[in-house]
């Protein structure tokens, strides 16, 4: 509503980067590592310290094992995730736009949403074998289910007045769909994509713990057998960092694509 205030606010954000939260973030990180070091150095718990984990990380990078694990995990996650999202968006639109499609599809979506994707793994392994297919399928399922619901919610919550405004300007359904429905529901879809990626990432690691010959989850499973705590730590930290990076990428895309939205900061 307050136009002038909105303009100056965004101008100010562009001109100055506020460093204080970043400094606080770094401080929090340093304190965390310090605390970890202090606890392990005092041998209060039988856990590897930061130095030990860091050296193991370097070792694993140097002998190529960590990059290999990252590549196999990411390949699974991205294949499943993109397939899931690619199907979820059209299906979500279909459900939002046509009552018949909604009535036909919704019971299945709601039902399968209640089954944790990991619970499907035994069935997937029995029917699809032990290679990539069952893992990718489970990830596909996880990302499809979280994204389809968001897309469909986005379509049904498009403001009626916007549709009416387009209609009185002469737009037919064929025009309203690409020019009003899709842009208006983009924010919802992107939230769905973000949730989908999160659940895909969570699912891949768990799936690899159960059945895989490579990947970050598999590496932890192996390390567990040999009581190799530093490797477990390296894998955990890698999983966290990669998850964070992917989430930030989607968030950045989201902000770019929906910068027209009025936001409460």
């Amino acid at each position: 509503m307050t136009g002038a205030a909105g303009v100056t606010q965004s101008a100010r954000n562009k001109a100055f980067i506020d460093w204080s939260p970043i400094l606080l973030n770094l401080l929090a990180f340093a304190c965390g590592v310090g605390l970890w070091w202090a606890i392990t150095a005092a041998q209060m718990v039988v856990l590897p310290g930061p130095v030990e984990v860091f050296t193991r990380g370097i070792e694993l990078i140097a002998n190529g094992q960590l990059p290999l694990d990252i590549v196999s995990s990411l390949r699974r996650v991205l294949t499943g995730f993109f397939l899931g999202v690619a199907l979820a968006i059209p299906v979500g639109f279909l459900m939002g736009w046509y009552r018949v499609a909604r009535a036909l599809i919704e019971p299945y979506v709601q039902f399968f949403r209640m089954i944790p994707p990991l619970a499907v793994i035994p069935l997937a392994i029995v029917t699809m074998g032990i290679d990539e297919a069952p893992k990718v399928f489970v990830i596909f399922l996880a990302s499809f289910l979280s994204c389809v619901v968001a897309t469909y919610q986005g379509v049904i919550s498009v403001d009626r007045t916007l549709i009416n405004a387009a209609r009185v300007l002469g737009a037919t359904d064929r025009i309203i769909f690409p020019r009003v429905i899709i842009p208006a529901s983009t924010p919802f879809i992107l939230v769905g994509v973000r949730i989908g990626l999160g659940s895909a990432w969570a699912t891949v690691v768990a799936a690899e713990l159960i059945a895989a010959q490579s990947g970050l989850g598999f590496r932890m499973q192996q390390a567990q057998l040999y009581y190799d705590l530093p490797t477990i730590f390296v894998s955990l930290i890698t999983i966290g960092i990669l998850g964070l990076v992917m989430d930030r990428l989607v968030q950045a895309a989201e902000r770019r694509l929906t910068q027209w939205q009025e936001r409460a900061r």
Partner: protein
Amino acid sequence: MTSSTTDVPKISFQNVSRRFGDGAGSFLALDRLSLDIADGEFVTVVGPSGCGKSTAMNIAAGLTEVSDGRVLVDGKDVHGPGPERGVIFQQYALFPWLTVRQNVEFGLRIKGMPATERRRISDHFINLVGLADFADALPKTLSGGMKQRCAIARAYAVNPTILLMDEPFGALDALTRVGMQDQLLDTWTQERRTVVFITHDVDEAVYLANRVIVMAARPGRLQEIIPVDLPYPRTEAMRLSPEFAEVRNRVWHAVYHQKPQIESNI
């Protein structure tokens, strides 16, 4: 029958009724409204909430069907919305992902008009509503009044012969409102259209209109038609004149002292 076009009312409501819902929960939003609006006329509609003024407008816009009766525009039955009837909504209804210019060009773009011609038309109307400096701004950076001016330019751009405005200034503060009224009249003087303007503000209704249509509620129906015999352009002096006060008092009484409907009238 050979009637010249001037004899045909621009908009004609003929015994229009609209019932919402069915069975016991249904209610009559509009009861046998008959009203003719002439070409180039500026008509305002006032009445308490539930008087069916928005329903009547939506029917004329083609966004709502009639339950009974007919609505004619230029002598032809209304079926669905059409670009000859521009609509301006209280909530602005700008496409938030488009800039002011893209919003104004929306109706032209979907008609497939070439870019240079679109640009010429959008420039004209963006200037007319005083948004030239904000042509490339997104709606979120505009104030309420500016958003509504953008919506007015967007409605004008497709060159409608009728403008239907549903409480367009209802969400604006009193000062902005007065400015917007003058600007709307100014635009209307330069680009004459038939305007149906819904409001709940008696002052606004009198200030803008050739005729004030007063409606009554439960069921929504026509109460009284009050002509405003003040010349255009309307000025502040006119707004404060005794003649204005007199019309305003008449409208005020018609709106706020409505007799309950007499049974035999049903």
